[in-house]
């Protein structure tokens, strides 16, 4: 193991190898960040819809979750990257005007966003359903509308209950960005492989990536634990896992 490789210059590139890995890390984190916003919003809506009394909406929500849960992530990447533009001419016309990197970036966000949203929807649904039925009735008895009941009573409780499973989803999402390598997004795993292939220093490159992913996982875990403690409802949820 020779760490000086990280300081060596990238052939026909700018900067040393650690710089390449850092830029890969940047793409990984920004993809995960935007995908998380999309997944959290979409997942919350679908999750809420599945707990309402509208039969059609519930069925739609269930179908949505099953669709994204039963197709491998890499195949979903191929669907968004190759099949969607291939089937819809308007998308194709838009996509070819984009810079390839931006195209990969947007595709990755959309793909991971939908994929993760189905998992979040499942968590939000189980969080809402774990609440005693009386809470919903109490909200209605107070004269709240259905939207108000969700906004002020059900969701604030449900979100707090599902923070631990959401923590694992955050970490899964960050790990899943590595699959974007399959469509050529220059994220951390892509850069790691590239470094291994160009320098033949596979051990150094992969060790660095492993350390980075472990540090990210631990940091994400700590941050979510902090959020969990901050938001804990006194006397209702015992802190920690």
């Amino acid at each position: 193991m020779n760490l000086s490789i990280f300081l060596e210059q990238v052939p026909d590139g700018d900067g040393p190898w650690w710089h390449m890995l850092a830029s890969g890390l940047g793409w990984t984190l920004s993809t995960a960040f935007f995908a998380w916003i999309m997944a959290f919003t979409l997942g919350s809506v679908i999750g809420v819809v599945r707990t309402t009394e509208h039969r059609m909406l519930v069925r739609f929500g269930n179908a949505y979750v099953e669709l994204f849960r039963n197709i491998p992530l890499i195949v979903q990447f191929f669907l968004w990257y190759f099949v969607v533009p291939g089937l819809i001419p308007a998308v194709k016309a838009w996509v070819i005007t984009l810079d390839p990197t931006i195209h990969q970036f947007v595709t990755s966000i959309v793909c991971l966003g939908f994929f993760t949203s189905s998992r979040i929807a499942e968590q939000v649904r189980s969080g809402i359903q774990s609440l005693p039925r009386g809470q919903r009735y109490a909200a209605y008895a107070l004269g709240m509308t259905q939207i108000q009941a969700y906004r002020y009573v059900l969701l604030p409780m449900a979100y707090r209950i599902i923070i631990p499973p959401l923590t694992s989803e955050v970490m899964n999402l960050i790990k899943n960005t590595a699959v974007a390598y399959s469509i050529g997004l220059v994220e951390l795993f892509f850069r790691t492989r590239e470094m291994g292939e160009m320098t033949f220093r596979y051990y150094e490159a992969f060790t660095a990536a492993t350390v980075i992913y472990v540090v990210i996982a631990m940091t994400a875990n700590r941050i979510m634990a902090l959020i969990e403690r901050r938001l804990a409802v006194p006397g209702y949820i015992v802190g920690g896992k």
Binding site: E66, L67, R69, N70, I71, P72, L73, I74, V75, Q76, F78, L79, F82, V83, G86, L87, M171, K175, N176, T177, A178, V179, Y181, S182, F189, T192, R193, Y202, Y203, F206, A209, T210, Y213, V214, A217, M218
Partner: protein
């Protein structure tokens, strides 16, 4: 839309079927091997011998915090060197990505099955373990005859769900140029420029298999639930 040619699937079906067979074999091997090593790991994590518990916990946490893709490539690079050191060969032994994937998935899934089995073992009440000891059973007998059969039964639906996830995860080996189901379809899609048809077909096949399996798991869950 008009120039789609789904006939390509019929023409290349034997090749695709071969890929699907590899995917199924790898899933089955990883499920069985992963359950076996996962159970051992779970027992190690719950061991009262602290160093053993720490090593097991470290392994499981490491595997769970790095992307599967990274694990696949790690094992692919390391396996020749490890086999060399075991057999004492003169140079690293190349075993090929398709074979190293078996070891990768068994070792990777072991970490996930470990967590499931650990929850399963912990779900067995302490009284049963004490009762087994009172009957004069040793640790091995207690585990084998009392705890593990029940833990396994309780966790069966979750284990099966994990197998469905595993079945989907196997598709990542296609990035090492292995001809699993996805790998086969990628190769044909590129050779015949039938990207749209191939990937749609692959998605439909995966969906059908996984959806059917998940319905079966739900049924199983209802049937084996123990009424307490």
């Amino acid at each position: 839309m008009d120039d789609l040619d789904f006939d390509v699937i019929v023409r290349t079906w034997p090749y695709l079927l071969n890929g699907l067979r590899y995917t199924l074999q790898l899933t089955l091997a990883a499920a069985l091997g992963g359950t076996f090593f996962g159970t051992l790991l779970a027992m190690a994590r719950l061991s009262s011998f602290k160093p053993l518990a720490l090593v097991a916990a470290g392994y499981v946490n490491l595997m769970r915090s790095i992307p599967l893709l990274l694990v696949i490539f790690w094992f692919y690079f390391l396996m020749p060197v490890i086999i060399q050191s075991i057999t004492g060969a003169a140079r690293p032994v190349q075993i090929g990505a398709d074979r190293s994937a078996y070891i990768t998935f068994i070792m990777f899934e072991a970490a996930f099955f470990c967590e499931i089995m650990r929850a399963g073992i912990q779900s067995i009440s302490k009284g049963q373990v004490n009762a087994a000891h009172a009957l004069g059973l040793n640790y091995r007998q207690t585990m084998q005859l009392v705890v593990l059969p029940q833990a396994f039964r309780n966790m069966l639906p979750i284990l099966m769900t994990q197998v469905i996830v595993l079945f989907q995860d196997v598709s990542l080996v296609s990035l090492l140029n292995v001809t699993d189901f996805v790998g086969a379809s990628v190769k044909i899609a590129q050779r015949d420029s039938r990207v749209v048809e191939m990937y749609l077909f692959v998605a439909v096949v995966y969906f059908t298999i996984c959806f059917t399996l998940s319905i079966l798991v739900k049924r199983l869950q209802k049937r084996i639930a123990i009424i307490r």
